[in-house]
Symmetry: C2
Amino acid sequence: MPRTVDHRQRRAGICDALVRTAARDGLHAVTMRSVAAEAGVSLRLVQYYFATKGGLMHAALLHLEEHSHRRWNERLAALPSPAPARARLHAFVAEAVPDDEESRVFHLLWTSFAVLAMTDPALAEQPFVSGPERLERQLADLLEEARTDGSLPADRDPALEATRLLALTHGLGTDVLTGRLTPDRARAVAEYHVDRVLDGQPAP
Amino acid sequence: MPRTVDHRQRRAGICDALVRTAARDGLHAVTMRSVAAEAGVSLRLVQYYFATKGGLMHAALLHLEEHSHRRWNERLAALPSPAPARARLHAFVAEAVPDDEESRVFHLLWTSFAVLAMTDPALAEQPFVSGPERLERQLADLLEEARTDGSLPADRDPALEATRLLALTHGLGTDVLTGRLTPDRARAVAEYHVDRVLDGQPAP
DNA sequence: ACCTTCATGATACAGACGTATCATGAAGGT
DNA sequence: ACCTTCATGATACGTCTGTATCATGAAGGT
């Protein structure tokens, strides 16, 4: 057998290049050639590791989602253990608001793909749906746990609250990326929301 | 002077064609030629009425926003007058959740443009920012009014609640269009949210 | 030493796109 | 009747895109 390179690593490098390109110029600016240039390889190599553009996109999306999932778990692990549900919900908010470049990129890409999925049924089967759904289940579990330990009022519906929180953070993320909101303002709104959900409001 | 057609009407017709095309195939499928075909005119005519593609996009966006604004006001006008703030907030929720084709199209296009604006500073000056900001002010006014008449607890911040409500509905809209949520479910979440905001929650 | 297989380069091809150019009906002022 | 101006058609140009093809180092098994 002739010389063999690490395909996994090559593919990851190219996926990273795609993500950087899309983050800088938008997903519409992602072409085989622009990705190749960003990765510092020839067009042929991108073709070699990803036969088709669709395959490249798909792989990059998985790459991105895995990356984000790892980041979220690292943030959870960084919390003093055992962390109360409230702390973990605030960690979620901190992770969900695009303040640093990495989460900004993630939100941009995710929304870009989501928009494509709105008119492409084939794309709608991809992780835009499975990724957030897993996250939503995690949030629902977290809220269920909060209800058990008493920090969430008993009459709340964890599943509905999870859906609401996720939709809110998605909306806030979009507002931040379009420049309508500062990250600080978005974080303030999201944290206010979490506190309202957990504590309810004092009766008049 | 030779025969003269109604330029305003022609332009509106072409903008409608763009909107239909984008609604069916996505904004990335909008080309001078596809819009011309959808409008049933020649490519030259699209060029004639909109010198550049950027101009066409811009005009279509204004067209869309005006359309949506009119729709929202019509819905408000259809309410028995004087409608209490709560009723108008629920009307907003009903309008914001993409259930019929028209609001589905609006949400899709708005999000598509918002995604483009995330990497194009020139686009970010367009009505993605001014449109929602006007809406947010309207909502804030509505909530201020609700606070005055007592349906919103006095310790709530109308501006923050407006931001929160708007972000939530945007997020829910996206979830509906990607098929993650049914319109009914999204509406339920949004109405639950409005009720929570207005009434607070009973003390434990 | 050689041959097979992996990895990469160079280049070509067909189509679509935005834009520009040239031409031509059509209608009203003079 | 004619001529200017508006409105529209046909078509061409250059560029970019995804994909395909042909060629060639490089390395290990035999």
